[in-house]
Amino acid sequence: MRNLLKNRHLSGWLLAAPLSAVLLLFLVLPIVMIVVVSFWGATEFSIYPAFLFDNYAFLFGSPVTYSVFFNTFKYAAITWVFTLGIGFTVAYFLAFHVRTLTWQIALFLLCTIPFWTSNIIRMISWIPFLGRNGLANSTLISWGVIDEPVEWLLFSDFSVILAFVHLYTLFMVVPIFNTMMRIDRSLIEAAYDNGASGLQTLTNVIIPLTKPGIMIGSIFVVTLVMGDFITVRFMSGSQSANVGRLISNDIALLQYPSAAATAVVLLATVLLIIAVLLRFVDIRKEL
């Protein structure tokens, strides 16, 4: 028994057993189930086992699918640009311009605390801001910028992307800040000593060294936006669609096989993107 436990493969698997069990039961099996059900048939109120390609044929035959996938990529791309820009700037300020560690930790915590609060509440809280009689409109009117309330502030692509940026920028801040804090400060001194300007140091030293953090942040933001359905439904007032909403609509209509087929395509797309991004970064080394 003692000798058996000395075997690192066996003791490793024993220690990883609870983790593997959870992942097997609640991740692998559900994925298998979704793939299986995506070939099943459905009536109006029930589903039955079969081996049909109808769900996929319908999915790929419908022009809605392509526009919805396009919309999903659009949200992901625009959100990525904004979260990266804001997240990098915030992390850069924290890592290189705040001088004491105490302040760095305090300000960093201020940025991360909203992550531990409810996303739904944070979405709801935009309503009094963006609504027809909201703060934004009344402020703009009192400044004389506009004469009557702007309608596109709430329940539009604008509010969807605003909410995404609001919810997910900290997924960029945290990994980028983490990578920046590990940059050897003498490299930056060296750049200055060699006559580099602040901007040159940023583009030639800091940005290349921050790439792993940027990649990890991008993985988070892209997957969260691509898999979302609730933000789009809530912030667009059900006027815009993404793939997640397509799935949740099918679920609401009890069309599980059709939902499963869409889910398989979505999962394949997301995993493909992640596989590409992972080629640029070794996550385990960067933590």
Partner: protein, 280 residues
């Protein structure tokens, strides 16, 4: 990089302040609006100031069961928290051994992190319904939430063990400590502050989780599901009052965790090493 602050410092500091306003502004707005008078609506202006809508939360509810869902979310959060800490520590220790097949488990963890939440909901819901089991927040909901909290717990454990100095363990083993004694008296005390972090992630991510619980919680809602239900049929500031209360609760939880970390660090700094004091 020393001496007088550069102009770019002030520009960046201004940007940072705006970012914080962007992060917290909306939450503060609904906190103010939740004190609307009884005739007030969902936007400004304030029609009087009152605690009417907070009191409304404690009256008999026309729709839903706020306090029942709150207690379910609380219990579920604690269940997920304890499981996340224990399973993440075991997983973290396992990955250090670089056992055969560990990279498969690692990629499963990454998949668990990046998979769209609604897929977990859909898949688990389908398995339960097709095998004739009833979905319930404490079974299917609990397992689905673990697929979201465990990756975070493990990523933290990876970060911790990447910085862990193995010579502490070697010293313990050289003194004759068994494997279990080394973990119990050397490894766990050293990583304890990070475990509080894992617990914080476990509890708060579960307490706020929506998509993975949507199809897996059964007929008894958790609090985020209850709040989401309210957004479609409640048009009074009572929803802001609820939002403010649950956000305050989250802040309280975060404060407790951070305070524990801080107290622990202070105690360590004061006591220094306990070498020579024995294990009792």
């Amino acid at each position: 990089m020393s001496g007088k602050r550069s102009r770019s410092f002030y520009l960046l500091a201004g940007f940072f302040a705006l970012f914080l306003l962007f992060l917290y502004g909306p939450t503060m707005t609904i906190a103010i609006l939740s004190f609307q008078g009884p005739d007030g609506g969902l936007t400004f202006p304030m029609r009087g100031v009152s605690t009417y809508w907070f009191a409304d939360l404690f009256r008999q509810q026309a729709v839903g069961d706020i306090w029942g869902s709150f207690s379910r979310s609380l219990v579920l959060g604690l269940m997920v928290m304890v499981t996340t800490v224990v399973v993440s520590v075991m997983g973290g220790l396992a990955f250090r051994k670089r056992f055969a097949g560990s990279s498969v488990v690692f990629y499963l963890v990454i998949t668990s992190l990046v998979i769209p939440s609604i897929l977990v909901s859909l898949g688990v819901g389908l398995i339960f319904s097709q095998s004739g089991l009833n979905v319930h927040w404490s079974t299917s909901g609990y397992g689905s939430q673990l697929t979201w909290t465990l990756p975070f717990g493990l990523l933290i454990m990876f970060a911790v063990f990447n910085r862990f100095d193995p010579s502490y363990e070697e010293a313990a083993r050289d003194q004759g400590a068994s494997n279990w004694q080394t973990i119990r008296h050397v490894v766990l005390p050293i990583i304890a502050p990070s475990l509080i972090g894992v617990a914080l992630f476990g509890f708060t991510l579960s307490y706020d989780e929506f998509a993975r619980t949507l199809l897996t919680s059964g007929s008894y809602n958790t609090l985020p599901l209850e709040i989401y239900g309210m957004t479609t049929n409640v048009t009074t500031p009572v929803i802001f009052a609820l939002g403010t209360l649950t956000t305050l609760f989250s802040f309280l939880v975060i404060a407790i965790f951070l305070l524990t970390v801080w107290l622990q660090a202070r105690r360590r700094a004061r006591q220094g090493s306990d070498a020579g004091k024995g294990m009792l």
